[in-house]
């Protein structure tokens, strides 16, 4: 718990400083007060934990994101093509995909990654299945190959 608080504090300080742009005594003091207040409030709300502060993922997440960006780039081009070519080319598909992630966090990352990649949307997230809607059947096939699943599972393991 403490860990998460400290990390949140640091992030919040950065957030304040980057937003503020005024570094006089008064505003800094107000910033400290504000941050403390926010910390107090969020603790009261019980929203500071490993889910909101995924510290354990920090060191692997960048690599994954780079890969994700690449995927997004590719699928973007696909979808753009579909848009300009028109309706006839699309083959909307709905399919359930098994996922291997254990933690909620992993599931969320997976679901969000699917949605983030254009062409696929995670429609429903139930236990260990994700219902995916795809613009094109082919992109679903790519997903079924499980590359993304594997990467996230790897991310998840500490």
């Amino acid at each position: 718990m403490k860990r998460h608080s400290i990390s949140l504090f640091c992030v919040l300080v950065a957030f304040w400083l980057l937003n503020s742009g005024h570094y006089g005594f008064l505003l800094l003091a107000l910033g400290i007060i504000s941050i403390s207040f926010v910390l107090y409030l969020t603790h009261r709300m019980d929203v500071v934990d490993h889910e909101s502060q995924p510290l354990h993922l920090t060191h692997k997440v960048f690599a994954y994101h780079l890969w994700l960006i690449k995927e997004i780039f590719h699928s973007n081009i696909d979808v753009l093509k579909h848009i300009w070519r028109g309706q006839l080319t699309i083959t909307p598909t709905l399919k359930t995909i098994k996922i291997s992630q254990q933690s909620d966090m992993g599931k969320v990352i997976y679901a969000n990654s699917i949605t983030l990649t254009p062409g696929t949307i995670s429609v429903d997230l139930e236990n260990d299945e994700i219902l995916v809607h795809a613009l094109d059947a082919s992109s679903l096939e790519g997903l079924e190959l499980g590359e993304m699943d594997k990467r996230i599972s790897k991310l998840e393991q500490i």
């Binding site: 699309i90 598909t93 359930t96 949605t115 254009p118 429609v123 997230l125 059947a137 679903l140």
Partner: protein, 121 residues
């Protein structure tokens, strides 16, 4: 140097706006709700990203840059979340996607989950 900046940002902006417009056209052209979602997700990812990157290149100071980054991160975090939630809600509330025959594998609503818990007023 200025030239590089303006050209690179120009390219980013141009591409971004092209993608945004494309996304909107997709929003109009696609046949049903789920397919339209794909179109918007184009805008929300690469369109937003490219435009914001274009602006980042132009940004005069760190603060503006930081804020643009924040907007970008926020967009990338919120976009898929709302998309997912929206799709889920639509699906659970009985909006059936139009599917091609081949992929029509699971078309029934998982009604057991929600059908019973709604009291009619």
């Amino acid at each position: 140097m200025d030239l590089v900046i303006s050209i690179s940002s120009g390219i980013c902006l141009l591409l971004g706006s092209f993608i945004c417009v494309s996304g909107s056209i997709g929003l109009l052209r696609f046949p049903d709700f789920y397919t339209r979602m794909h179109a918007t997700s184009v805008t929300e990812t690469s369109g937003v990203a490219l435009i914001l990157i274009g602006l980042m290149i132009l940004s005069p100071d760190l603060l503006v840059f930081a804020k643009l980054v924040m907007i970008l991160l926020l967009g990338l975090l919120i976009g898929p979340t709302t998309g997912h939630v929206l799709a889920k809600a639509a699906y659970h509330n009985g909006l059936k996607p139009k599917l091609t025959k081949s992929g029509n594998e699971q078309s029934s609503v998982p009604s057991s989950e929600r059908g019973g818990d709604i009291s009619k007023s």
